[in-house]
């Protein structure tokens, strides 16, 4: 392989323009043979309209089954430095808060033992260390643990849980998302690192119904903060918003409330809190005047996933309201009951959302010992295909 720089006329086009360029990021390490090969193969993909990666045998660090994605070039002769090019998923700190020091330590490790290229962050939330060889996995791992970091999930395990910034930087957090994500992550290190499930299981923690971690779309279990009592209101601030002209309270607030449970007479805003579905809209519009109530907790939803195999799912309500206080025993008991049931009866590569649909939510609840409540459904069944149980006529008798 020649040491001279590869020509990348197509990629060079992507150095132009106002948005920061990933090509420029790669080229910052253009002096390394790894990045030369990466640029070369990528340019080739751009020419051919074809990727050049393949997956192969499972690679990882000792004793772990997850945290590393094995990747191989399918043109290893031409691009030998990326013949192996595995990514390591490093469990991010809760809420993605860092100190400059911690970041620098990660950078040093990755420059020494990998491509020097990262994703900050992956879609699941991990720090993605993008590209190294099999022999470097163990050294990276041991250096990471030395500075206090550990790998995240991959494969059929609990995936790296993530959380919005929550009470650290947001006035709306209805529970401590950072404490919760940290606690669950630490409690289930084994489930995170040693795949033993039918498929992946993701947890995401959002402090309020705005769901800033998109948990309802992407988590097998979504913990979405909410409240039970009345929205806290500063009536004077409401009038200020009205006076300032930035908010038309009737149109922008009352008429956009999904339950239309608010009314505004020009001076006073009244909320029929019993009708409020905690959508956050009014609070979002007037953060100085309105705040979530004081009786706080979360709604737990279950089963979101991308389309493979049975079609995409959004999470659906599982526990309508629960307080979120450590050690979260009730929730953990539930979570473990789900894992047990699903591990025993789930098919290979069947996400929990698909499993629930296959066995029926009613049966699923019965198995894990949770009472069905109407909050779990958008509406009761419309079809009359009811699997009546034996107990039906026992009760009658």
């Amino acid at each position: 392989m020649s040491e001279k720089k590869r020509e990348t006329p197509l990629l060079d086009e992507l150095e132009k323009g106002p948005w920061p360029s990933f090509v420029r990021e790669l080229k910052k390490s253009a002096d390394t043979p790894v990045i030369q090969d990466l640029l070369g193969q990528l340019e080739r993909s751009y020419e051919e309209h074809l990727g050049h990666w393949k997956h192969g045998g499972i690679v990882g660090v000792m004793g772990y089954g997850g945290g590393v994605i094995g990747r191989y070039s399918d043109l290893p002769e031409e691009f030998p430095h990326i013949a192996h090019f595995h990514t390591m998923r490093v469990n991010q700190p809760a809420g993605w808060f860092y100190t400059s020091d911690a970041l620098r330590k990660i950078c040093d490790i990755w420059e020494a033992h990998g491509s020097g290229i990262t994703n900050m962050h992956g879609s699941t939330g991990d720090i993605i260390l993008l590209g190294t060889t099999t022999d470097q996995l163990e050294p990276v791992f041991s250096k990471l643990t030395e500075i206090g970091f550990d790998l995240g999930g991959s494969g059929s395990d609990m995936r790296t849980p993530s959380a919005c910034c929550g009470p650290a930087r947001c006035e709306w957090a209805c529970y401590d998302t950072l404490a919760a994500v940290y606690d669950f992550t630490q409690s289930y290190q084994d489930e995170l690192h040693r795949p033993a499930f039918p498929y992946k299981y993701k947890l995401k923690f959002a402090g309020c119904p705005n769901d800033c971690v998109a948990s309802v779309a992407r988590a097998d279990m979504s913990f979405i903060g909410t409240w039970k009592d009345d929205i806290q209101m500063d009536a004077e601030q409401v009038r200020q918003y009205a006076a300032s002209g930035t908010v038309d309270i009737q149109k922008d607030v009352c008429e956009r409330c999904p339950t239309r449970c608010m009314s505004w007479d020009g001076t006073n805003l009244t909320i029929d809190n019993s009708e409020c579905v905690k959508c956050m809209h009014c609070i979002n519009v007037m953060p100085k005047a309105l705040r979530p109530g004081k009786e706080r907790g979360c709604t737990v939803l279950i089963g979101a996933k991308a389309p493979i195999v049975g079609g995409a799912l959004l999470s659906s309500v599982f526990v309508p309201f629960i307080e979120m206080e450590p050690p979260y025993s009730d929730l953990k008991e539930l979570l473990e009951a789900i894992w047990d049931l699903w591990s025993e009866h789930g098919k290979n590569r069947e996400r929990v959302g698909e499993f629930i649909q296959r066995v029926g939510l009613g049966n699923f609840l019965e198995q894990i010992g949770l009472e069905p409540v109407p909050e779990m459904i958008a509406h009761p069944r419309t079809n009359p295909y009811i699997f009546f149980g034996e107990e039906l006529h026992e009760k009658q008798a």
């Binding site: 993909s45 751009y46 400059s100 020097g116 991308a306 493979i308 290979n348």
Partner: protein, 358 residues
């Protein structure tokens, strides 16, 4: 190698050690926030303390050299404190309001635009593409870069009716939030995979492979005396799930892979419930390095939305108000049979009412 005993299962570092003092002090005691200018948030605590967050866009693919740059900026302006957001922006956490302008200027000079807050387009959640993934129908970072160059004004301004969330995924696995985004770009395969019969038996487990197909298109078959598979062409909709479990079933195709565009998903509960994205352009050609057709299409969608939606209307809320027939009219997009669902719940997507605008 390190000499200390091997540590495992330590989990991530405790977040507390990364929180700036102002956050530790006011943890859970924030009162309200304001968004004085694009990319700048100020959170005011019950104590009266003010925390300033300055948000900058990144390409997500970050060289360690760039991360060190961010670290340096954090040291200079924020006592070493910074964070990343759930959409891969970087946020600098300041307590000194007077330093904001200088920080923004320095970020700008380094090529990292400040913005993405409020009713703007924030960074595009995306995936690996040709940079690292084997099943990518197109590149991720290249499309995203090309797009954001054009949508840049909506990142650095807050000039949209509501937040507009864009996501990109390079294959139907949809890593990310493509299935619930205001606008989504999805790489698609459009042809039946080619089977490498010679290697298949060595590389793959037949039962897993057969079970992987959502439509049951894969049948066991004997080819040249070897156990292999046959794909019923008319049942295959090119999802590539067979390829995920068996690399000998090759889904990538230089000629026929391309991109599709989806709109009207959301995840927040604000006003309306979370929703899936819906197909609006079934296929656009794979055209590196700048994917002009895709960029044009998305830009056009953003413009039509911006011109027509009412204040606080997310893309989905706007479309639902005007109705899909008018959406297709306003955008000029052709409506084809591909837009009509034909998977499991297809019937649920038909218009079961005479409520129409004629």
């Amino acid at each position: 190698m390190s000499a200390s005993p091997r540590k495992t299962d330590i989990g991530p570092p405790h977040y507390e050690q990364f929180l700036p003092p102002i956050i530790k002090k006011n943890y859970g005691k924030w009162l309200y926030h304001e968004n004085p200018r694009p990319g700048v948030l100020v959170h005011v605590a019950e104590s009266g303390d003010k925390l300033y967050s300055v948000r900058a866009g990144t390409p997500r693919i970050l060289n360690v050299k760039t991360i060190r740059l961010f670290a340096d900026l954090a040291d200079k302006y924020c006592g070493g404190h910074l964070r990343f957001t759930s959409r891969n922006n970087v946020e600098f956490l300041l307590t000194d309001e007077s330093k904001i302008d200088a920080l923004i200027e320095e970020l700008h000079d380094l090529g990292f635009p400040v913005g993405g807050t409020g009713n703007a387009i924030s960074a595009i959640v995306h995936t690996q593409g040709w940079v690292h993934c084997h099943s990518a129908a197109t590149d991720a970072s290249g499309v995203v870069k090309s797009l954001m160059d054009e949508l840049y004004p909506h990142f650095v301004n807050m000039d949209l009716p509501a937040k507009l969330r864009i996501a990109f995924a390079c294959c139907l696995n949809m890593c990310g939030a493509v299935h619930c985004s205001d606008i989504a770009i999805l790489g698609v395969h459009t042809r039946v995979p080619e089977i490498d019969h010679a290697n298949l038996p060595k590389m793959c487990e037949l039962p897993t492979l057969i079970a992987s197909c959502p439509t049951g298109a894969i049948r066991p078959a004997t080819v040249d005396g070897q156990q292999s598979i046959h794909i019923e062409e008319h049942l295959c909709m090119y999802c590539g799930n067979c390829f995920t479990v068996c690399p000998a079933v090759k889904i990538n195709n230089a000629k026929t892979d391309g991109l599709s565009i989806w709109v009207g998903g959301k995840v927040s509960n604000a006003r309306t419930e979370p929703k899936f994205s819906k197909l609006v352009i079934p296929f656009l050609p794979n055209n590196p390095p700048r994917w002009p057709e895709t960029v044009e299409a998305v830009k056009h969608l953003v413009e039509v939305y911006a011109a027509n939606a009412r204040k606080y209307e997310r893309m989905s809320e706007w479309v639902e108000r005007i109705g899909w027939p008018r959406f297709f009219k306003l955008t000029g997009l052709p409506f084809t049979k591909y837009h009509i669902d034909d998977f499991t719940h297809a019937g649920e997507t038909y218009k079961r009412s005479a409520q129409l605008k004629h």
